[in-house]
Symmetry: C2
Subunit: 378 residues, 2 copies
């Protein structure tokens, strides 16, 4: 009997209550049975996003939401800023370029957060900039960018929309959509929201809706205006992914029971305990500043391939964490504490890590990291 532990930054574990809710017989998406489900999920998302605007629900992975954020609000040739501090920052650039935007990339060293003043300077110098694209949590490096400060900067520039990929940060981080001036924020189901992959969520501010009127790029599947009109009637533009939305509703109810403040505290504590335990083992964090509450990126010890740690965790202990991506591949591994995660997920991850390192010949004292986590999670 080898029990499976999923500690990857998405897909994350889905609570059995949610899994079983999605195993109910199908209902029809244009029937009155479905109206209260979608209505309730809609309200729950507004609560989670801390916004008074409806949050669109799309049938796609998070990347579909990112694409929609580009091709519903811009035109070919528009100048935009992209913060690229990892694999997902790079994805913003690739999407913007695929749609013919003129991208000014702020390249941030992997493991570091962008300096808000760099963004401010760029915006001040070039008032033609139409948007600032960023990740809240850059999943590939485990770094959290200072969305609050940047949001308050971008707000002052009438021409610029602030577009945040919060796919891996949503639920783990307090993101005040309206208060901080986030114009478009993209989420995904398979992260903090404790669901299987298949849904993307997008909030849209009034400033962004006004911009939508001027955007003439071809679109059909990700047509946000149509989605908005349908959502107002508790429908989606095309066939609703009913099972996933039933699950969404269940997951949101669980989160609402916990309360926003508690959710963010829990994630902050799990992340803190993970970081301190990892350091106690003698390892270094890959995120040199502003580590996220979603996922902890850890440097592999000298001479040890990070992918080998990831593989040993999985093959020997049935713990699925994550390795490094692109230029971080082999150098790091990542432990998530996102969504349906508690004290003993951290303990399991740290204990499995100690055992993995020992079996790879790294000198570790069993229980040292675990004890640190216990102390902090008490």
């Amino acid at each position: 009997m080898l029990k499976r532990y999923l500690l990857a930054p998405g897909p994350t574990p889905v609570p059995p209550e949610v899994l079983l809710s999605m195993a109910k017989p199908l209902i029809h998406h244009r029937s009155p049975d479905f109206v209260p489900v979608l209505d309730s999920a809609k309200k729950g998302l507004k609560w989670l996003y801390q916004t008074t605007n409806d949050v669109l629900i799309l049938c796609s992975t998070g990347t579909g939401g990112m694409v929609g954020a580009v091709n519903n609000f811009f035109n070919r040739g528009d100048r935009v800023l992209v913060v690229n501090g990892g694999k997902f920052g790079e994805r913003w650039s690739k999407i913007c370029q695929a749609y013919g935007l003129e991208v000014d990339e702020i390249v941030v060293e992997w493991g570091y957060a962008v300096k808000p003043e760099v963004i401010e300077e760029k915006l001040r110098k070039d008032q033609s900039i139409k948007g600032v694209f960023i990740q809240a949590c850059e999943t590939s490096t485990g770094v959290y960018h200072d969305i609050e400060t940047i949001g308050k900067i971008v707000k002052n520039y009438e021409n610029a929309l602030f577009i945040v990929d919060a796919i891996s940060a949503l639920v783990a981080h307090d993101l005040k959509t309206d208060e901080w001036g986030i114009d478009i924020m993209v989420g995904g189901s398979q992260k903090g929201l404790m669901l299987p992959p298949g849904l993307a969520f997008v909030s849209v501010s009034e400033k962004a809706w006004n911009r939508n009127e001027t955007s003439k790029m071809p679109r059909f599947y990700f047509n946000f205006k149509r989605e908005r009109e349908n959502l107002a009637k508790n429908q989606t533009n095309f066939t609703s992914p009913v099972s996933l939305i039933i699950g969404l509703n269940e997951a949101l109810k669980m989160l609402q029971k916990e309360g926003l403040e508690n959710i963010f505290k829990r994630h902050a504590l799990l992340a803190y305990a993970t970081r301190e335990a990892v350091k106690e083992i003698g390892l270094s964090l890959y995120s040199k500043e502003s580590p996220s509450n979603s996922v902890t990126a850890v440097e592999s010890p000298p001479g040890i391939d990070g992918q080998l740690i990831y593989k040993t965790l999985r093959e020997r202990y049935s713990v699925t964490a994550a390795g490094g991506q692109d230029k971080a591949k082999g150098k790091i591994f990542r432990l998530a504490h996102l969504g349906y995660a508690d004290t003993f997920d951290v303990i399991t991850g740290i204990a499995a890590l100690e055992m993995t390192l020992k079996s790879l010949g790294v000198p570790v004292t069993f229980g040292k990291g675990v004890a640190k986590a216990q102390e902090l999670l008490l």
Copy 2:
């Protein structure tokens, strides 16, 4: 206790075995756990599609697959033929127009099938036509277009791709993708494949892949070339909708056990019995020719609103069928026999229909339609 019966042309009922397979704990999409699942689903889809080409698996509704079929193979200004004989034919036109194609619409009266010779004549007269778009089953009218004959016509025109929306026909109709020269065929999960909504499937011929090289429209989420490359490695381009693909694999195994020939015979028989039973009750079919095996569209009796039949079925008997769409709204109702459907789904539908009509004051003899269905389904 009011048991629910889902007799709509999508979403269709999902077998409990499939629902429970999707309720298993999540696995990671880039882990070795997932490779055999995707590999097996991939093989199953090739079998179902009767093609030697890989069938792409997209995380979207069927409409996402339709959009991809347009923006991966065409360029702005390309001339295309669209067969518009209902709401979904109209959707092809709208998608093509949204992407700037020049659409020549063959408008077919609702309830009728396109005449293949009309397509042949158009192609002969204008060899610049780059594609022919059609539905296999036009869900809104219950009509099946003669895909075999049209495929064999389009095959002779080097310039033209043959693109079939088989979303509601797949599984219910024998569609020989390769043999009939179907270049692109789009399917969806929530119809004959007995799954919740959330997946689209697209087969692509070599002729279409060659065309893909010349198509320069912006694309990122529905990038078929990237999906093809990933699928060859048993991956998807972005996060795989793992739970739905696990369900897909289960559904395909059930279908494979039944065998292609039996599946098509079953659907043909259920559809035939439904039609004859409806006529026995004294009603007329809305599909004046070539009725599909997926869904039966029935004219409501004089003086009775079709939507009222649909509503009474649902509210009084908990049978969810479908009403009419757009110009057929109020004039018809539709009973599906698609996917996870057998003899007693037809009997239930017909019995509920008899009871509904009686309660609406239509003179019916109880059991007359049911007896006809029994006789044919024996």
